[in-house]
Symmetry: C2
């Protein structure tokens, strides 16, 4: 039996077929062109999925289920996408529409949650009874996997780690609150701190590496300048990893998972990032004599979307619910 | 079949026998006298439990299991209490010691977690697939119940909500961090804010109700003064419930449970408290169009300890693990 995984992004839809272990057998991508009507987007989604199926050498009878990851909130009773801001979707019947082209069980979940599921099936948290995935990108997303299954929450709105309050009266957030975690731990936050440091220290390597142009400063530049020992960059990196350690500690204090996985753009800083956070978390723990599980970097990269969606289909087709 | 529930506190050990639904059939209490050796405390615990059993009209053959709630961290592989600061216990073999007197399966968990379990079996969150219990006492504790079972975490250290960071560089906490949630949401925090307000507004009803003595100010006085419309007390109550709403929103943002239960001393403020928090949470939600489950007040009071411990025994004796 094989599974179709569909990873819907704001610009690209990535479809793939996997085996039961989440190994990708084939993949086909298509543009999202999100301004189009919902039905048109879903038709292209189905076309790409069926093309990937053909390329895998399997046929529709071999497909166990279809999983779809979206940057939003979904529910799996009716298979509806409740919100998907990037695509302008609100309460759209994705399962029903997709079933017009592919008559198989369809299940939908948040993309960060599915990336976490992918890592727990075929990646760095494989075999762990519990894991929490934290994506460090433009914002901060999360995926909670308990007993091998994604935890969606009662309204499908769980694991939005980026919008937990980390600082009362802190940095204003686009969600309307202040001090949301993603204002301190996202790539956006790292860049903001890097630009502030460069403005304060014009002789910093951060600005040199950005060609003297503050707008060119990105997360990689800040991390690379810190790696090279630039004092201003090191100070930013120290603050950023302190915030990230507080975020990790909050996850530990709440759920005490076996593994915490860092993914998303900033996680490409690799061991330099992970080691800094690993060093800071123990001092924050409530029970200093206990460990805090493993802190790991995501290993599946862009493949996590397809794998996680396909594995959602595998998990859910049995009709089990969380 | 009946179950023995033992609720171990710093000053009192409450033992009870319940039926399979968590209805208490009998109960016997004894002093903890925590300064004594561990073995002496456990012997009294067993004596009280067996006396409760006799009073219930049942005998040892009717007992399915024994559950014990402790103000600390435990693990159920060997039945060890890892930490229990109030009692000075560290890595003590509670199951083994208790089995010297009662030869039944023994399971141990944190008392706030078990209060949450009690509410989910026989109280306000009965029937909910997921709930998070928040105790508002001297500190802030938590209990996470998912699919009817307590979530202990990989190291048994989960649901310590009081020590999640709510404010970077905030009020220093006894745990060594700054800005822990319990520095804003505990009874202790409410009293601290009440005393500060009374010092600033000596004409406030808070001070009058405390007989002019700042040291007499407690949480009930602050709440009662607010209820009577005292401006200084209302301002404190507004700040306190804003912090509590941020804490509730963090729980929703993370786990999106079906029910959030407020327990502990401050929850005795009743609907006055719950309504204020219910009013504030919707404005904090990331997905404003979604609900956030039900916010409820605990209903089992002091009985929650015995009921939760007994129901832990009922859940765990089947050998199921979370």
């Amino acid at each position: 039996m094989v599974f179709i995984g569909i990873d819907v992004g704001g610009t690209k839809i990535a479809c793939g077929v996997t085996d039961e272990e989440g190994v990708i057998l084939s993949r086909v991508s298509t543009g999202t062109l999100a301004h189009r009507p919902f039905a048109a987007v879903v038709r292209d989604m189905a076309d790409a999925a069926l093309e990937a199926l053909a390329q895998s050498g399997h046929e529709i009878a071999d497909v166990g289920a279809v999983g779809v990851g979206i940057p939003g909130v979904a529910e799996n009773v009716n298979g509806t996408v409740i919100f998907c801001t990037n695509l302008g979707w609100e309460n759209v019947p994705l399962r029903r529409e997709l079933n017009r082209y592919i008559d198989k069980p369809v299940f939908i979940d948040n993309d960060a949650t599915l990336a976490g599921l992918a890592e727990s099936v075929a990646g760095v948290s494989r075999g762990a009874a519990s894991s929490v995935f934290i994506t460090l990108g433009t914002g901060v997303g999360g995926g909670i996997i308990l007993n091998g299954r994604p935890w969606a929450g009662a309204q499908g709105a769980a694991s939005e780690l980026g919008h937990m309050t980390l600082c009362i009266d802190g940095v204003p957030c686009s969600c309307g609150k202040k001090g949301c975690l993603e204002r301190y731990c996202s790539a956006t936050a790292l860049i903001r701190m890097g630009r502030e440091a460069a403005a304060e220290h014009p002789d910093s390597l951060i600005l040199t590496m950005a060609g003297g142009e503050p707008d060119n400063i990105n997360g990689k530049i800040v991390v690379d300048a810190a790696r090279q020992g630039d004092p201003a960059a090191l100070s930013v990196f120290d603050r950023y990893t302190t915030y990230l350690a507080l975020a990790v500690n909050n996850v530990v204090t709440f759920l005490d998972p076996e593994v915490i996985v860092l993914g998303g753009g900033v996680s490409q800083a690799g061991a330099f990032l992970a080691d800094a956070v690993r060093e800071k978390v123990p001092g924050l723990l409530l029970f200093k004599a206990l460990s805090f599980g493993r802190l790991e970097l995501a290993v599946l990269g862009n493949e996590a979307g397809i794998i996680g969606a396909a594995m959602l289909g595998r998990l859910m087709r049995g009709g089990e619910t969380l």
